[in-house]
Amino acid sequence: MSIGTEHEGRTYPSPRPYTVSRAKIEEFAGALGDTNPAYTGDDESVIAPPTFAAVIAARAWGAIFEDPDLGLALHRTIHADQRFEITRPLRVGDRIVSTLTITKVRRRGPADMVTISVQLDTIEGEPCCTAVSTLVHTRQEDAA
């Protein structure tokens, strides 16, 4: 099986709510070498770096790599573009649910360009961020 335009519009709900923790925010900011004081301090005032949404979105991506209909493999995937639209920063204690939607599939030679949108909301229904990605997936030749 391989991904095609017939999969556009397919959605995948959150695996489980993701709880934003101060420890993960510090670890993530540290991995970016970002010492902005907004990411440290007391739990009430700390916010996550804007691209922290990738941590939760990447978790949501698991669903498409596990969907046997799509035939996608992570190790044959390259990230082509990324966009974050931020409604409000993520904060310590936020419980986030994500919904992934396959919005566009285009075939280009031996690869498929797959655009996916991940909407991040709190479990209370407050929107926080939309993360839109285009992934380039190279099909396995012997499976084509």
């Binding site: 770096p49 804007p50 082509a80």
Partner: protein
């Protein structure tokens, strides 16, 4: 505060530049922090199977690190409205301590109401004279709220 004055932001303003160094250690650290364990970031064999010369840094590391050029400038990351990039060229990770140097510059290109558009440029400087820089982020753009409260 470092003295960021939203009222004084003007089209054409250059933001203070930023130097990033993409190393294998950074990739390992980012993989753990982000939980993105794609082997093309830590296995030369996996990277070569995709036609790369060897392991590359996560595009999201470059995207997230380059954004510091904006958040260092406006001080409050909560001012960010959106941020988009294309990954135009992979950043290879030599097996050394220095890594690959990525130079990040940015400037204000438009102001509409209380929103400033920042265009960001991230490139690997040419290794030798006569060679070209390698642009690693394309069409990299952030919108920043420059009203009185963030």
């Amino acid at each position: 505060m470092n003295g960021f004055d939203p009222a004084s932001v003007a089209v054409g303003d250059e933001l203070p530049a930023l130097d990033l160094y993409a190393t294998r250690a950074a990739a390992v650290r980012y993989a753990g922090a982000s939980t993105d364990f794609n082997p093309i970031h830590w296995s030369d064999r996996s990277a070569r199977e995709l036609g790369l010369d060897g392991v590359i840094i996560h595009g999201m590391w470059t995207m997230g690190s380059a954004l510091r050029v904006v958040t260092n400038w406006c001080t409050d990351p909560a001012r960010l409205i959106d941020y988009a990039v294309r990954f135009t060229s992979p950043v290879r990770l030599p097996d050394d301590d220095e890594g690959t140097h990525v130079r990040v510059t940015a400037r204000v290109t438009e102001i509409v109401d209380e929103t400033a558009t920042i265009m960001i440029d991230a490139r690997i400087p040419a290794a030798a004279e006569g060679e070209k820089d390698t642009k690693v982020l394309g069409a990299a753009r952030a919108h920043v709220f420059i009203g009185e409260h963030a």
